[in-house]
Symmetry: D2
Subunit: 344 residues, 4 copies
């Protein structure tokens, strides 16, 4: 069996979560997210973000979080602005359009969206009502390419959104990894302050499943639970989500896990650098995109699984290597050795 660096959801969950499931298994709890664990998890998340007036809703997955937030916030004639690398545009089977909303995209080489791109899209929507009204900006942090937003970048985006009556929504499937990147200067309070809504991913950071939607704009909080229910995302045993986020937030476990994932990725990045590889893009989170020759890819594939991400030319392609909270150092060392053994 090969070792997989294909994604960050290949394993189960952190042992603390298993333990919490075991300890609390027979406790009778209210259904639908009103259990004591969900309430505690909410409290911990709000405290972490220094944002006591935000509202938290726990759901199962990222596509679900994205479609619920967007469907809840927008009216039928309002549309979304995103980078063309955005997960909602490429990897969610049209989940957003299925709720009736168009996504207008700006081309991005690093996964990030910038204020001037937003303004350009707004300019291109100059003929109402023949063209839609862009109303929500979707960004991912970390992005789908492993890059992250700096504080000044996020602030500028939020400023731009405020000026143009746009909501700013951050997909945080890998938010903890972004926040623990060595080049990050955002605080958790910044995340809450400079977005209308964001979600904090659990699935890719130690949970079996779970994303915590955090609604910072208080005007958007009313009636949100209806949308969670209507889209089939309100678990009878909401405790399953509550317990996991409680375990992850306690003592900042989720940050330790993200830090670990990043560190292992950086080790592998170093190995590729020593080999003399260039990269599709420089990243400091748990995803790296080294450019390898077909021969190198073939050699590495004998013992390891990963995605070939992007063809560079006939000879070379960028591959994607992902680490996670579950990547053991000893396994990463084996991988590093295999990289070193590659022919240049």
């Amino acid at each position: 069996m090969k070792i997989s660096f294909k994604n960050d959801y290949s394993e189960g969950c952190h042992p603390n979560i298993l333990e919490a499931l075991i300890i609390n298994n027979t406790s009778q709890q209210e259904g639908y997210g009103l259990d004591e664990f969900s309430l505690k998890a909410t409290e911990l998340i709000l405290k972490k973000c220094s944002s006591p007036d935000s509202a938290v809703h726990l759901v199962s997955g990222g596509t679900q979080a994205n479609l619920i937030v967007i469907a809840a916030l927008l009216k039928p004639h309002e549309s979304v602005i995103a980078a063309n690398t955005g997960h909602i545009f490429n990897n969610e089977a049209g989940a957003i359009e299925a709720t009736g909303h168009k996504i207008s995209t700006a081309e991005s080489t690093d996964g990030k969206l910038r204020p001037e791109q937003i303004k350009k899209i707004l300019d291109d929507h100059s003929r109402p009502p023949h063209q839609l009204k862009p109303r929500l900006v979707y960004i991912s942090n970390a992005t789908e390419l492993g890059t992250i937003y700096t504080k000044s970048e996020l602030e500028a985006l939020y400023q731009c959104c405020q000026e143009h009556d746009l909501y700013l929504f951050m997909d945080g499937a890998r938010l903890a990894q972004a926040m623990m990147a060595s080049n990050n200067d955002l605080s958790w309070a910044d995340v809450a302050k400079y977005t209308d809504v964001f979600y904090l991913g659990g699935t890719k950071n130690g949970a079996l499943l779970g994303e915590a939607i955090v609604i910072n704009n208080t005007r958007l909080q009313e009636d949100f639970a209806f949308h969670v229910k209507q889209k089939g995302a309100m678990l009878s045993k909401g405790r399953l989500l509550g317990l996991q986020f409680q375990a992850l937030l306690e003592n900042d476990l989720f940050l330790d896990l993200a830090k670990h994932a990043n560190q292992e990725a950086m080790k592998i990045k170093e190995a590729f650098k020593r080999l003399g590889c260039s990269f599709l893009i420089e990243t400091f989170t748990n995803q790296i995109f080294p450019i390898l020759s077909q021969e190198q890819i073939k050699a590495l594939s004998e013992g390891f699984e990963f995605y070939t991400w992007h063809k560079i030319d006939e000879e070379n392609a960028a591959v994607r290597i992902i680490t996670s909270w579950a990547s053991k150092e000893s396994i990463v060392d084996v991988f590093v050795d295999a990289i070193h053994a590659l022919k240049k």
Copy 2:
């Protein structure tokens, strides 16, 4: 803390599931339902139903299962027929209508739908294209009132659907409980044979979450995974669903759990009978609906939680008592004693 008989999802999961989670936690698995546990669970479900050509999709919850199946099967101008007691009509926040489909209902006093009611609704749709084209019949087994369909009833429904070009879809959130009822004469093969699609509930029968959608009509199987993904129901760690259904199906654990739930409900039913109560409806599954006086309700509420379901008159109301796989005999005995202690 009061003991709750409010619903069958107050506790966590069966210990076998916890054990399976622990044992397999570090195994690297494919995402999105392609893990080995999901494949094994599928195999077990199909074997149980003697229906090797059926397709299985594991999702998180009942509302999710209902909306995905209905949205996948129907075209925009096709509608649903259901009993007015149906979960999709009353308890899912308009999830079906949100996918664009109307539900036409027939009044039901026992939770069941009958061929003559279907025909009546078809007759009332005699003015196409001004009226929709009913295309799918939704039933629940056990019903929302705890009753079940007999083999001849289900056969007749399916026959009626076949004659009128209607799909028959069974919501099986409590299917195991129905199948283990003392008055049941359906086999698992019958369920697969006499429905186009059904789902087997895990959440209310020992799982943390999970419903297994089983598509028996092979013409409806193509492309189904797109709909699961598009509605946000495809878990990255599909293993969580696979592991649970594997654990539940092995050695028919799920049947033992359902049988236990029913037996405990029947004990409580007997207690109410001995008290001289009448019932809103006679049931043999894990839900019972005794009619109590306000005084009796008040007395019983001191130590136990349950829903007052339906007001009968100024003095009396039907309450709903639900047991589950997790209802301990000793606790049920305490409840039985409390019932016996009620004033007639």
Copy 3:
């Protein structure tokens, strides 16, 4: 060829409209409702309703008006309350549900909805978020059964809506006929005052096509044109709608037409009364519902077309007779003679 009393859209349009089309045919006009005729029509409608702050949007048909208004006003989790006789519930091919919204109905024998029925439906939605949030009340005036709302009835409905944060929307496909009924006590200002939105029907009152949506609640006016466009209802040659409403509103032509339709219906009603008929319901607008024997229906059908509306018993059925602005007195006289010639 038989004479038709089947509906009020069997003929073309009033000659004044033809004339306006001819006279203005070569005039170059802005598209999409910005033509001078639409602007003039808007002015005339607002003046008629003494409601200068209302906004007017002209669209082609009733189903279109209904679905645009409801889709524009409601969020995904909000639903509609209507009488079960409502056109949106029975005759629009699920147009409202296709926009994602459920319609909850109250049974009505006279086509009207009453505050206590609204309150009952609100009471039945006591479990948010598992049940939807009713947000809009749909009524028709005249109703689908030809009855009308009195001023006190409309005021009470509006009051009820205000108290429960509900929008009141009046389908006015036959509003002019209602307003010209001998038992009407509503003024046009009342209509604007006691509804959030209504529409004034042109198609059934002399136009080739056209319904004028009037938005009285100023908070609902913003961005409405987007919805008109998005649903495919914004005509390039909006002039066609503008010209017609201008012609109909000038000198209250539309009221004369409605009055004429009502009068002819009343003549026929008298004839049936003299024959000794009873009626499904007493009406004073252009629809009447006499109860006839099968023999009488057969006899009358030899020369005239009309719908058999509702079976009363084996022997008798209510038929629907509709007159319109185009019903010639001489033709109606022929019909009246035929009624008198029926066997009692």
Copy 4:
């Protein structure tokens, strides 16, 4: 008042249509498209296309036609492929997305879509079910840039669609203009043969409103009327559409009108050519896109209205000049003179 060359729907309708409206005004007709004029129009259209098994549905406008066809043909997980110049992508307020379907676009400089672009988009959808299933190709003929498809181009597109299980849908808002272009080699039979569905535009070619949807693929014909009704596009007085198409088709009036529009555009094109202008793109239909200096645009704007379409550089921009069936030769001569009078 300036003379407008802004669009081809500035005037009313061809006198023959007015005459038909007048002559048939008092005739009693069935509603909802079952009138004798609609039946006759259908017959004429099918005969024109030598396609007796096609089905025809008359609707009011282009956005309406597009959204109905696409919503009727596609399932929720199926998407649309179009040129990025496509009307549905830029000018219909998200009407297609509002029905739940994503549009994937290929960049086009001439308004046309090519097989290799379709294949590229298909290749980019290689990860089902995470990515949608493209199922329908949308093209316009004439395109939004006034260009047209040759027979070999259309045949190649249809062939490509057949090979990849895609429907080919042609937006024919200006189809008659395309067919009468001097460089056209398509026959009407070709149009029916090489598309699954197309529509023939009336609004921009002499009608007050009206587009004729022609469904050539017989498997797509069933139940189509439901969709027309559900989207609010089924006129009570369908006669209005029937009468117009009957008048337009009789003696090929619609072709004469399109030919006239094209000829007048070509006169203007010649004038710009003589002035030494280049063009954004060469066209032979009723739209031309000469590139003018800001000074020239300003001078011409004094007497005429037209859109500035596309900025070329600081000094120059392409403008759009549209002629129509209603463009009088004498007026066009005035315009030509004005062009000649421009400074080079």
